[in-house]
Amino acid sequence: MKTAVIVFPGSNCDRDAHDALKKLTGKPPAMVWHKDGVIPEGTDLVMVPGGFTYGDYLRCAAMAANSPVISQLRDHAARGGYVLGACNGFQILTEMGLLPGALIRNASLHFVCRPQKLKVDSANTAFTSAYAAGSEIILPIAHAQGNYYADTATLDRLEGEGRVAFRYAAGENPNGAARDIAGVLSENGRVLGLMPHPERAVGGHEGGADGVRLFESLMAAA
């Protein structure tokens, strides 16, 4: 699987994404600088990493979603390429309109970093096929604005079309997200945005290893 990671000013999970992709795919991803970088031809997966692009000033992800590299990302998605946005990356994907809904301030008004219990809601996707449907996993979260919001019709449609990939485990919603939604898919199932950090859960440290199967799913699909 050929991968790339976009680097914005203020991205801070770009190195983590790089290391996770290198470890799991065996090849380092192309690191694409937002200003003049080019997503290499033949890239299967573009990862939009977490961080605080442009300091989250104005509104988180609002400025990154208008950066020069975004048109290439749109083209990649339009071609049916895989896109994975974690945390701030998820926020960027919703700001771009590649995914529906928005991420608003955590209900607690506090930043929250903790090992988060999740339910794999739909295992029938390119990002989750290596998990058992309904299984419980733990991925680290770290965000202040992860409260997923969309109107009722959109939420109904996402659920109806099996596009809720991950939910926070019952009673463990860390941010007030609608219907405990932690990650959603695009209509074609090839763009995933989620608040938890799968790249921080690839083994060998406090984040655990439950993110590995997400990348394994992708490798099987790509």
Binding site: P9, F52, D56, P115, H205, E206
Partner: protein
């Protein structure tokens, strides 16, 4: 339109002693200044002297005592005197670290004060070429019942998180304590640890004449003017009016600055570099000039400015954040500017180094400052302040206090007391995992965080420690204990303690009793550093932590760094298994003076608390070495050092962390008729260990006499007391203990009113 003539007349007007006093320059210092200069200073020059000679920049009250610290060792590459300390961690790599206070600003404006404290300490570390890999903070707040405490906790924690989370450096460890002694002066000490290659370390020293001076980062504004002077004076009521002197942080710009500086450092462009911290452009330029033995000439009109009409005085004293000053090698301007342009950061050549040894500043084409550099630093006042020997407290006699009827109630009360209770509410607001190398953090409640050296199987262990109650009770023994506790915390995870950074927080040094605390605490710490081969490589002094004449408890905080050679050979407090024995390493002397038990259960204060436990440094070293060898041989499942709350609280923490109960008896002596001391007594050089019978058989514990205190199992902490079959025992279910331990801080922070 700016009236340049009027500004210049204002700036160059000759000043008098009264103006000196307004700038914190006392009469004798004024005399010294005029003598050195051969004339009276103008306003810009006076401003520069006032910050350079402030306590904060000059260490004038502490300098001669700080010299008592051992600062050298086989692993020390750079001791105190640069932006941060540097130690050799093998394989051509170095760990670079320092701790610094941001106490005064955090009390006035908690969010920005704490945030900029984090930003400042990060700059100290990446200025030297290190990529920051970990943040730690040591916080002290007033009594929970004080009306300001909740707001201060909330603001400080949000500020630390707001900054550290955004720059993407994990906050992995810390301590948060409460005491009425901090009601008027909270302490916010932040530590940063970075990694660098030994051949890519950058210093403030080494400047040569004839080189360009590059200003990089945020524009200069009017914020923070005279912050260093504020940090060198006592508070009085209404101090909130000082808010304009608190700087505002921009972690996004800091993140760009880190990446841009590290990118430039990978080239061969920088001769010397200094971040603009306290006293901003003044101290950064003067320190580089002083250390390099060169002069500096700067055109302040070239300084990127946020506002119009700023004067040379304001530009030189501004403490606007996220700025760096570097002296470039010849012809490297274009390389540097291209990199900063990529990161959308301002970078302007604002001057040149000279052979004159003078600091010459121009604004609007006119010289507004022309003073010799050397007296600013080297000739700064260096006082031998009068001090008095701290008074020894009478011994603590437990017999004067009733024995508790229910030891389980004692355990619950201690474990849910503000100092002991879980700080989850705090550390869940910090990103502990970014950078992907956090092996163990506050999350596990361990003694020290473990952060992997990126791309290797090695790690650094990092902790911060200070028991101010011990230091109050006996500055010398308490000072020893501060260092010894850091040594224990690092040893308890299997790390070899390498070096410390210190952050000495005290009251007004012009008061002999306070100065006595400073002197004796430093001497005690220095003795422990020597005995434990644990040198001081960097540090910070924060004095004048007083409000309306009332000083904080003496709080010399230590940040310790240790090295783990092999990540498979570590331990934490959370690995105990069903059936493991609970083993005590060290001699529990049952000392209750200055203990958590005396403070929280008995409600004692001040001298009634008695003296702290004495510290035997030889034993400390011996036991630490033994613990590390057990960990390295894989002969333990969990380790925890015994500190506040004694054996019972340490065992309870191990039980909570592993989710398995424990049944224990205190370290009783045949003559003991009561159990407070053996359960809750504190000492030094003590560790609790969980080990299986099989592991125990493989121990070679000759000379250590490990004591078997109990066994892990069940779902309660059971304290056995007394002698014989019918002796009472007290069981506290883990669920109840956890609710009390986890419940206090969120309950306090979320309470209404």
């Amino acid at each position: 339109m700016t009236d340049t003539a009027a500004i210049l007349a204002h700036l160059t007007a000759q000043q008098d002693p009264a103006s000196g006093v307004e700038h914190g320059i006392k009469a004798d210092e004024w005399e010294r200044l005029v003598n050195r200069l051969g004339r009276r200073p103008n306003l810009v020059e006076l401003g520069i002297y006032s910050v350079m000679w402030s306590e904060h920049c000059s260490y004038k009250s502490s300098r001669r005592h700080l010299a008592k610290f051992p600062t050298k060792g086989p692993r020390v590459i750079q001791g105190p005197g640069e932006n941060a300390g540097v130690i050799d961690i093998g394989d051509g790599q170095a760990a670079i670290f320092k701790m610094e206070s941001h106490n005064h600003p955090s009390y006035i404006e908690p969010y920005q004060g704490a945030a900029t404290g984090v930003g400042g300490i990060l700059r100290d570390v990446f200025t030297m070429g290190a990529r920051p890999i970990a943040l730690v903070n040591a916080l002290r707040f007033g009594d929970p019942s004080h009306p300001k405490t909740r707001q201060l906790v909330s603001g400080v924690v949000a500020g630390i998180g707001g900054y550290g989370n955004c720059v993407g450096v994990p906050t992995v460890a810390g301590e948060t304590q409460f005491d009425e002694g901090y009601n008027g002066n909270i302490l916010v000490n932040a530590m940063a640890v970075g990694l660098a290659d030994q051949d890519k370390i950058f210093y403030a020293r080494g400047a040569l004449p004839g080189l360009p001076i590059l200003y990089v980062g945020s524009k200069t504004g009017r914020d923070g003017i005279h912050g260093a002077t504020m940090a060198s004076a006592e508070f009085t009521e209404g101090e909130e009016d000082n808010r304009p002197t608190v700087q505002v942080g921009d972690p996004f710009t800091e993140k760009l600055l880190i990446e841009a500086c590290l990118e430039l450092m990978a080239t061969d462009a920088i001769q010397s570099i200094q971040d603009m911290g306290a006293a901003g452009l003044t101290s950064s330029s003067v320190e580089m000039a002083d250390k390099g033995g060169v002069g500096i000439e700067m055109d302040l009109d070239a300084v990127p400015q946020r506002e119009t009409g700023m004067t040379a005085y304001e530009i030189m004293l501004s403490e606007s954040q996220e700025r760096m000053l570097m002296i470039l090698k010849p012809g490297k301007e274009a390389v540097a500017k291209a990199i900063f342009d990529k990161w959308d950061l301002d970078a302007e050549v604002i001057g040149v180094t000279t052979t004159t040894g003078r600091l010459v500043l121009k604004q609007f084409g006119q010289v507004v400052c022309d003073i010799p550099v050397a007296p600013l630093g080297e000739d700064a006042p260096n006082y031998d302040r009068p001090w008095t020997e701290p008074v020894k407290r009478p011994a603590f006699d437990i017999a004067k206090h009733a024995e508790p009827k229910d030891y389980g109630a004692v355990l619950l009360k201690l474990m849910s007391s503000p100092d002991m209770a879980s700080k989850r509410w705090v550390w869940e607001q910090y990103d502990r995992h970014v950078m992907g190398d956090t092996i163990d953090s506050s999350q596990s409640g361990g003694d020290a965080a473990i952060v992997r050296v990126h791309g290797t199987n090695k790690a650094l262990a990092i902790c911060s420690d200070c028991n101010p109650h011990y230091v109050s009770a006996d500055p010398y023994e308490g000072g020893k204990q501060v260092v010894a506790e850091a040594y224990r915390n690092l040893s308890a995870v299997g790390a070899l303690p390498i070096a410390i950074t210190d952050n000495l927080n005290f009251g007004n040094p012009e008061k002999p009793a306070t100065m006595g605390q400073i002197v004796k605490a430093i001497e005690g710490m220095a003795e422990a550093c020597r005995a434990l081969d644990f040198p001081v490589v960097s540090g910070n002094v924060s004095l004048y932590n007083e409000t309306d004449g009332k000083a904080i408890p003496p709080t010399p905080v230590v940040g310790g760094v240790g090295l783990i050679d092999d990540l498979s050979k570590t331990a934490t407090l959370k690995g105990a298994r069903e059936g493991d024995a609970l083993i005590l390493i060290g001699e529990a002397t049952g000392h209750l003076g200055a203990s958590l038990y005396a403070r929280v259960w008995l409600g004692l204060k001040g001298d009634a608390l008695g003296p702290p436990p004495p510290v035997d440094l030889e034993t400390e070293k011996k036991n630490g070495t033994f613990i590390r060898s057990l960990i390295h041989k894989g002969l333990v499942n969990a380790v925890h050092d015994v500190s506040d709350g004694g054996i019972a609280c340490a065992a309870a923490e191990m039980a909570l962390a592993s989710g398995i109960g424990v049944r224990l008896v205190g370290n009783r002596e045949p003559e003991d008729t009561r159990d407070e001391a053996c359960l809750f007594g504190e000492a030094s050089a003590l560790y609790l260990v969980a080990a299986s019978e099989k592991q125990l058989k493989a121990w070679n514990s000759r000379g250590f006499m490990p004591g078997r205190l109990g066994v892990f199992g069940g779902d309660a902490v059971v304290l056995e007391t007394g002698w014989g079959q019918d002796a009472p025992e007290f069981a506290v279910p883990l669920s109840e203990l956890r609710a009390a331990y986890e419940g206090w801080l969120p309950g306090y922070m979320n309470a209404v009113g």
